[in-house]
Point group: D3
């Protein structure tokens, strides 16, 4: 259960309503998901987060689908259940195939595995990796 109230679209006013309308417009859908409804308790933070997310997740030198898969990877390692659900849905909406999802899972599993091994063995970074 969410620890803050959810601001529904019908109750939104001012800056919150403006952001909600931008979300609806950008997604071509009336659906506003709970993350935004929760964040709307702080209208300035809602505005900052939405603006920033649009920039960061939009087209660039990494394509939007790849960005969603990276987002899922971080969310898994941070155990954010909501984030995994919402970004898995987003990744599928952007074209992630079942095969790609399987490979994403395999990479996440393997990275978690070797992260654990490396940390347990406290492997010293090779000087060859100090390239900067």
């Amino acid at each position: 259960m969410t620890t803050v109230a959810l601001i529904e679209y019908a109750d939104a006013t001012g800056d919150v309503l403006t952001v909600y309308d931008e979300i609806r417009h950008a997604r071509k859908s009336d659906f506003i998901n709970n993350f935004w409804k929760a964040l709307a308790n702080n209208p300035e933070q809602l505005r900052r987060t939405w603006d920033q997310l649009k920039i960061v997740m939009g087209p660039g030198s990494i394509d939007p689908l790849t960005k969603e898969m990276i987002y899922i990877a971080v969310s898994v390692a941070n155990s954010c259940s909501y984030c995994i659900h919402s970004h898995t849905v987003a990744a599928r909406a952007k074209g992630m195939s079942t095969d790609q999802h399987s490979e994403l899972l395999a990479v996440i599993g393997m990275a978690s595995h070797t992260n654990g091994l490396v940390t347990a063995m406290q492997v010293a970074t090779d000087t060859e990796f100090m390239v900067e």
Copy 2:
């Protein structure tokens, strides 16, 4: 400092030597990084990890560079310093541009940010995301 001994190439024998040679051949380089030298204390685990990593990180429906970026994302969230260094080097070797690195960092930062917000607010998963 590594908590296990490092097995150098010159000291490798049997299965360890075989895997070391496969690593050298696959990478077209004599360099064996510390992770493998540490893992070589358990030859069976060295073999399993190398075999699996080749399969998981090889070409498929997700390209190898994208896989490296996903690996970095997991390693950051798991705070694995060695892994971040080694896979950043690997990603660059596979063509990651400075712009792509910047965008990768931005996505990781943004995902960490909203993971924190969502978890702090304990946002309930929208039924719309329950698509399976």
Copy 3:
């Protein structure tokens, strides 16, 4: 579902009953929350944890409300859903306003964000920060 049995007040005896009564007295309420009921399977650990928590979370050079907000911050980063719920309720009971909750969330989000960036870039600690 809890992986251990919950010891209800009506079933408590000996040391468990004594701690339960101390909790009721300290909180001026009959309510014993599930954490204590689960911990009561190990009466000595129940005693140690309650005694320690009273000392650590009590008044000192940091006020109790601030301590609750710090507790929430740690619990979020550790993804402890129960802990986030229980300490958010505790923080409100100690006077956390809606504005303070919003700012707490913003700090947690921002810290998570820059933690991710710093770790991804493996920023070396400035010698200026080595003040001890």
Copy 4:
């Protein structure tokens, strides 16, 4: 070793120089720490992060010192060594006493402890905590 180049003040131009000057002005010091020098590889992200950090960490309903302590708490749980160093220095600069630091450590330790216990026991959230 940082995985990106550090942009020194002497080499900063355009937007990066402007942000650097704002940092110097705000802190009344010529010192620019490595985090900003690393982030400066992406001038837009430097600008967004600095602007946001000023807003989030500035005065509000939670005082700036408390915000620094919350920042430290998150950074500890996320194992961000650089962040712990830099924000401990910042907290001291804002007046954190040795006693307050000790109590902060005690709260972080205790929260980590009960987070572990609660998660291991998978304690179900009391309905009494479902107050929203």
Copy 5:
């Protein structure tokens, strides 16, 4: 809700059916738990994971019950609710007593506690610990 489809035994074919039968045989039970049903979307990964898990969790120089307790410890620190439930059940099936479970919880709590303290204080590793 699982983000991938669950492949039921009745619908399993080819390699998936073979692994399912191996699981049933090894456990002397018809029950296939959801983890395998989810992983079965990628038959090769199902095969690799099952084969590896049998080797790693089987008898060796550490007994199977101890391995289950170590598995629980990692799963708690990674906040994997499913894994905590399934491996707690497995540990009990392998003979974990109520006292052992209590002590396991106490060690996990204590380790989490001192991990937090050490990280917050950024304690430098004693040269005496650099034994390799």
Copy 6:
């Protein structure tokens, strides 16, 4: 670099000296490691932590070596480098063989791997695991 001063044995007085002497006596060694020297800034917390650690890590229904391996597992998942070093040394002092260390690493790696897969797939807990 540690963020608090280290209290050396020669400078210890009162309760700190008493605990230091207990540590030396219990370990039959003059060596006091940095963790205790850092914690000594808060004598009461030093006392509480030492007393608790003795109880939790001492003999019981789980043997001391197994407890050290569980401690290492938690410390790896929490990325506590100091803790991994110190408890690996402690485990060896209590008899951990090279084979046991290898198997411990394999279990940690495998648990991290499946934790990642389960979390990424958000596998629902089987009702069969709801045994309490």
